[in-house]
């Protein structure tokens, strides 16, 4: 793919971002991050309260990207086969089997949204892990492939009853965990409540332009971005230092008020995590029309690509969101570049 094509794709990426911003207000940063993850071909975990617009956001993206969009609600009695097939009695009185949400769109499946993933059992998580990692599924004596699939999942962190914490191995499969928070701006909050266009989500989504580009070209575009955006030795050293800091923050004099940093981390970022961070940083540089990655590109995606991969001491696990935010901020503050 030529540089010119990449430039055209960049315009499309910015158009996609703009289209979704038209539908979802006050979420500029999450929208940019999701756009980044789409072009870095990574799965996204959304974190936020109920009713903040996560589903609408993803539907808007699905509409503009094109391809198959499927969703499923996580419940405690959801079983792995519920993702693969349905059985029912047909009009002819005989049992029938139809494809579940994963298989319904076939190879064209581009976005699969798993709502409240932490309500599903670990068996479901493990199936999803394989689909996310290998983008294949064995069923009905056949091997199904989903080359264009991106999984979006969200988890409700407020309620803990009847939920299963997503294991660190599963979390590590997600490229980003993006917090969705309604900004506390009076004007924005008032329009969300009183502007009638926000009352009907389906109608709202229709405002976003459909099928902006060919979703089946995204893998190729992503590969080209990774090939064309340069990372110098200084940047490699910087990202390596950041990685080391996630494993042993005290080496870089990282301090968090009220936290024993020496005991905080059980496991730092994984090699997969750091490589995903770099992929996202490259996409960020490409979207900002640069040919090289700068430290600021890493900063733009560092928290979202790293925080959810860190394994904390169980003493601090209950305060994960707050501590992880502080930790990633401090790591960026303390690790110097170059």
């Amino acid at each position: 793919m030529s540089d010119q094509n990449l430039a055209e794709w960049r315009k499309l990426a910015l158009t996609l971002e703009g289209e979704v911003n038209k539908v979802i207000v006050g979420q500029e940063s999450p929208i940019k991050l999701i756009t980044t993850s789409i072009f870095a071909r990574g799965h996204v975990l959304l974190e936020g309260d109920v009713g903040v617009g996560k589903t609408t956001l993803l539907k808007a993206f699905a509409r503009s990207i094109g391809g198959g969009y499927e969703r499923i609600e996580g419940t405690i009695d959801l079983m792995p086969n519920d993702l693969i097939y349905h059985t029912y009695l047909g009009e002819d009185g005989k049992p029938h089997v139809s494809n579940g949400p994963i298989l319904k769109s076939g190879e064209d499946l581009s976005i699969f949204f798993f709502n409240e993933i932490n309500r599903a059992r670990p068996q479901v998580h493990s199936l999803l892990l394989r689909i996310m990692a290998e983008k294949t599924l064995s069923a009905f004596n056949s091997e199904y492939k989903f080359p264009h699939l991106i999984v979006f999942a969200d988890r409700n962190q407020v309620e803990k009853e009847e939920t299963f914490e997503i294991p660190s191995a599963a979390r590590d499969r997600f490229m980003m965990e993006i917090p969705i928070v309604i900004p506390e701006i009076d004007e924005l909050m008032t329009s969300l409540v009183f502007d009638t266009k926000f009352h009907d989500a389906d109608k709202l989504i229709e405002e976003a332009k459909p099928e902006l580009f060919k979703f089946d070209k995204l893998n190729e575009v992503s590969e080209n971005i990774q090939k064309n955006i340069d990372a110098t030795e200084a940047l490699k050293t910087y990202s390596l230092n950041l990685w080391k800091a996630t494993k042993n923050p005290s080496l870089y004099d990282v301090k968090i008020s009220g936290i024993d940093v020496e005991r905080l981390i059980i496991s730092g970022a994984s090699p997969r995590g750091i490589s995903m961070m770099m992929k996202c940083a490259r996409v960020n540089a490409w979207m900002d029309n640069r040919s090289s990655v700068l430290p600021e590109d890493i900063h733009a995606v560092f928290h979202e690509t790293i925080a959810h991969r860190l394994v904390f001491n169980p003493v601090y696990e209950l305060r994960r969101t707050e501590i992880a935010k502080e930790l990633t901020k401090e790591i960026i503050n303390k690790v110097s570049a170059p």
Binding site: L294, H299, V335, A337
Partner: protein, 329 residues
């Protein structure tokens, strides 16, 4: 000879005119004067060097006024019947208070004794005559007498024991100069010296360079100012400057947290444009592999920037006219 004799006669005439006979003026009617004298409590035992204080308050009814020139003059030696009495007026001060009917003078006199005797002997401060004038009749000058003060002077040593070496008592220490004032001066001097040293130390540690004071830009400037402009040196200098900024704010400095630097040291605010250029250059060299810059010019700019950082580090303000723009794009 005649001329000399004539000159001596002239001098004698002048000196005779200078002496004024007190009897030349009439005494003032006492009803115009109210006199109050505070005499010293000590009347006897004065010896050479002692001071006698006398306070005289005179209230003069108007229209009379005191001729202030008639007050005793400092240095005047008291005489009696032409002989020196051995006491001199050392100091005179007065306060004048003018009311509708009265003029009141409060006069403070200090006499010093310059005489001694082998036995106790009466002495006195002779009477003084102050002259007054009525402005309505300026030719009619009158006088007023300040009474004498009788005292007694005493010997320093007991009569007969005139040799000090014969009066060597073990209970009496040697006569020494009082060391208190000198010690006091030394103490004040020492305190002043310590304060000055601490002040200088504070100024130097805060605003200039001292070892181990985290004054990093000074050492960077000294290290690089005379080096050759090579790409390697430029890279090293940029790296050291980044390190300097990081030390200054105790965290990594990026373009998006410059405010922290300005908050820490307001002087850097004045070179914000240069800092922006520095980051642009640093990114180009470290992260963008750009090589289209003039080594000599860039190095010269970096040295100038380092110097400005050193000045900022010392709390100085850079003149905007001194700031150079980096030609690098």
């Amino acid at each position: 000879m005649h001329k000399l004799f004539g000159f001596l006669i002239f001098l004698l005439t002048i000196s005779l005119n200078a002496y004024e006979d007190p009897n030349k003026f009439k005494d003032i009617d006492p009803k115009f004067i109210e006199l109050n004298i505070v005499e010293p409590n000590q009347r006897v035992g004065y010896t050479v060097g002692d001071i006698i204080n006398r306070q005289i308050t005179i209230s003069i009814k108007k229209p009379y006024q005191l001729i202030e020139e008639s007050l005793p003059i400092v240095g005047y030696e008291k005489r009696y019947r032409g002989k020196l009495l051995g006491m001199t007026l050392r100091d005179i001060q007065y306060i004048k208070k003018n009311t509708k009917d009265l003029i009141t003078y409060k006069i403070f006199l200090k006499y010093q004794i310059f005489t001694n005797n082998v036995v106790a002997k009466p002495a006195f401060i002779t009477a003084d005559y102050y002259r007054l004038i009525n402005p309505i009749e300026p030719d009619n000058v009158v006088k007023f007498r300040i009474p004498e003060l009788t005292i007694a002077t005493s010997p320093i040593a007991i009569f007969g024991a005139v040799k000090v070496e014969d009066d060597m008592s073990a209970f009496r220490g040697p006569l020494t100069i009082d060391k208190m004032p000198s010690n006091q001066k030394i103490r004040y001097g020492a305190v002043g010296f310590v304060i000055s040293i601490l002040t200088l130390f504070y100024i130097y540690s805060r605003y200039t360079w001292l070892p181990k004071q985290n004054k990093v830009f000074s050492s960077v400037y000294r290290k690089y100012k005379n080096k050759n402009a090579t790409k390697k040196e430029i890279e090293l200098l940029i790296s050291e400057l980044h390190h300097g900024f990081n030390l200054t704010i105790n965290q990594a400095l990026f373009t998006n947290n410059k405010e922290r630097l300005f908050k820490k040291n307001k002087s850097f605010n004045y070179i914000e444009a240069e800092i922006n250029d520095f980051f642009k250059l640093s990114k180009a060299i470290n992260f963008e592999r750009k090589n289209n810059f003039n080594l000599a010019e860039t190095y010269a700019w970096l040295i100038s920037f380092t110097l400005h950082c050193r000045m900022c580090e010392r709390g100085l303000i850079i003149d905007s006219g001194d700031i150079k723009k980096l030609g690098f794009k």
